[in-house]
């Protein structure tokens, strides 16, 4: 065992967190047999807990590995994660306090449930719900991959540790519901802040300051390429990636769950101003990718096997192993591994809420049964197992590609959810057709583009490279708008709206 001290520190921290996960069930007492308690923590998390929970939810282990890896491999374009996690907050402020109010009044625990209440259309709600679950499955799988890189870097081989970690995840998700990741996210975030602050101070000192680090980055990676004439080039690519990702962020089931579990609109508005603290952290983390370039860890023989197996995802683990004493490596790696468990648990719970309320009840059982929490718990187990199968049986490349597609799909629910808290102009069927057009066109373009996220559109003689998700959701919205006019004239569905205008004030 090469990194014995690191492994011991790592295991102690993970064990502590697991104990917390099981104890969390008794925190902020509530009857966990109710789905609002199990799956939404009873909607009572205040500003601070919501800050940890939504932060732990939106900034995942995958982000913490993938963004520095993108900076390491591709350079400046990877920094789009910073404007992305800035412009998401005005969107959070504008849309989601309204959604919270309606959801609270009518007892909705998912985004699709709101859509069904608003349009009286269970098929539209099904489309929104299935989109969320389909996008979440590969996302959970990627959390596991983040964890796998860490476990591999510690020199522990095989799938067994990962399976053990997820058996435990499944167990505390079952017993404690959303309270478990809420409580664990506090520890996780404190560890992440500690690790990053230390890294961002210690490593530049060793490398002779930030000036030296940036000086070692090839100029082609240091900035975005200046667009050729007649094209918006990397500029529109960068901006649309940021904006499109921001529009999708809070539509994912796990982030919507984090939002709805808060104690009210005020908590969300405050957090729109407070959550950017995580973006500062993320920007510093992204720069670890450049530090890995500057130290040249990819050229050191002891890391050759790691880079061969995990590619640029190995940049941050290698940097830690190279720069830090073993005990601190244990802390940093534990932070990342716990950073995988928190969102993975929320993702499983959120998908389970959707399965129960938007698939099982409207289409199978026909009513809200007393057994709904049991159904949700069982489906949460299915999600965790499914993600595990993903990792063990399917190459990482496909999980990454499916996660990319997932982002393209999730944004297609933006008109049905975000527009609907402002207006009831749209027709439910028009939104469903718009969604279909968006999903099909996005999928077709992504496959056609060999799984690149940005496609060069040609508009009025200009080349406008754009994040496919953003371009196709515009198409989706235009289709929904244009079809709503004739459909409302022929078969108006406004009387099916169970909410009232005052709910959105």
């Amino acid at each position: 065992m090469k990194h014995l001290v690191a492994i011991i520190v790592f295991l102690v921290l993970i064990a502590a967190v697991i104990v917390m996960g099981f104890m969390a069930g008794r925190w902020k007492g509530g009857d966990l047999a109710h789905i609002e308690e199990w799956g939404l923590g009873g909607r009572r998390f205040g500003t601070l807990i919501s800050w940890f929970l939504i932060g732990g939810d939106a900034y995942t282990a995958y982000t913490f590995i993938a963004i520095p890896a993108l900076m390491f491999g591709a350079g400046a374009i990877g920094f789009f994660a910073v404007p992305y996690t800035v412009v998401c907050y005005p969107i959070l402020y504008l849309v989601f306090p309204k959604l919270w109010k309606v959801a609270h009044k009518y007892g909705y625990i998912t985004g699709p449930e709101f859509v069904r209440g608003r349009y009286g259309n269970r098929w539209l709600a099904l489309a929104v719900g299935v989109t969320g679950i389909a996008a979440t499955m590969p996302y959970i799988a990627l959390q596991l991959i983040g964890m796998q890189v860490i476990i591999g870097a510690l020199g522990i081989p095989g799938h067994l540790p990962l399976i053990a970690a997820f058996a435990v995840l499944a167990a505390f998700t079952w017993t404690s519901g959303l309270r478990a990741p809420a409580m664990i996210s506090i520890v996780k975030d404190l560890l992440i802040y500690l690790t990053v602050l230390v890294a961002i101070i210690v490593i530049p000192v060793e490398l002779g300051g930030f000036g030296h680090i940036f000086a070692k980055i090839p100029s082609s990676k240091l900035l975005l390429a200046v667009p050729p004439s007649g094209s918006f080039g990397a500029y529109s690519g960068y901006a649309t990636l940021a904006l499109g990702s921001a529009m999708a962020l809070f539509l994912y089931p796990h982030t919507t769950t984090g939002i709805l579990s808060s104690a009210g609109p005020k908590v969300l508005r405050r957090n729109a101003a407070l959550l950017p603290a995580y973006t500062v952290l993320l920007s510093l983390l992204a720069l670890l990718g450049f530090m890995a370039v500057a130290t040249g860890v990819d050229k050191l023989p002891q890391f050759a096997a790691g880079f061969a197996q995990y590619k640029s995802s190995f940049a941050v683990p290698a940097l830690f192993l190279h720069e830090f004493p073993d005990w601190f490596v244990g802390i940093g790696f534990a932070a990342i591994a716990i950073g995988a468990l928190v969102p993975a648990a929320i993702m499983a719970i959120a998908s389970a809420n959707i399965f129960t309320r938007d698939i099982y009840e409207p289409f199978v059982s026909g009513s809200k049964g007393s057994a709904e929490t049991l159904v949700a718990k069982l489906f949460a187990m299915v999600m965790v197992m499914g993600a595990l199968v993903f990792i063990v049986a399917i190459p990482t490349k496909f999980a990454v590609q499916l996660q990319l597609l997932g982002g393209m799909w999730v944004i297609q629910t933006f008109p049905a959810i975000a527009f609907s808290v402002f207006t009831r102009f749209f027709n439910g069927w028009a939104l469903l057709i718009g969604w279909l057009v968006g999903v099909v066109s996005a999928t077709w373009l992504v496959v056609h583009n060999i799984f690149g996220a940005v496609w060069a559109f040609h508009v009025f003689g200009y080349t406008v490279p754009s994040y496919i998700a953003l371009a196709t959701v515009v198409l989706n919205a235009v289709v929904a708008f244009l079809l709503s006019i004739p459909l409302n004239a022929m078969a108006n569905d406004r009387h099916k709206d169970e909410t009232e205008a005052a709910d959105y004030a």
């Binding site: 400046a76 920094f79 404007p83 402020y93 300051g209 900035l223 101003a273």
Partner: protein, 61 residues
């Protein structure tokens, strides 16, 4: 409509030609990087202002 401040957040975050440059540097950071980190702080303050103003207005009602 204090929410107009959000337009500033979008503009300073997404108008790439304004910040895709190296100079002036700050503590060794090229402009591209320190500017975008500064934008995070500015955005946070602007959103907090919107919250405070709207919160006061709601309290007066």
């Amino acid at each position: 409509m204090i929410r107009i401040l959000f337009l500033i957040v979008f503009a300073i975050s997404l108008w790439v030609p304004a910040f895709n440059r190296i100079n002036p540097t700050f503590f060794g950071f090229p402009f591209f990087y320190w500017y975008q980190i500064l934008v995070v702080l500015i955005a946070s303050v602007l959103i907090w202002i919107v919250y405070k103003v709207e919160d006061k207005k709601a309290a007066r009602k």
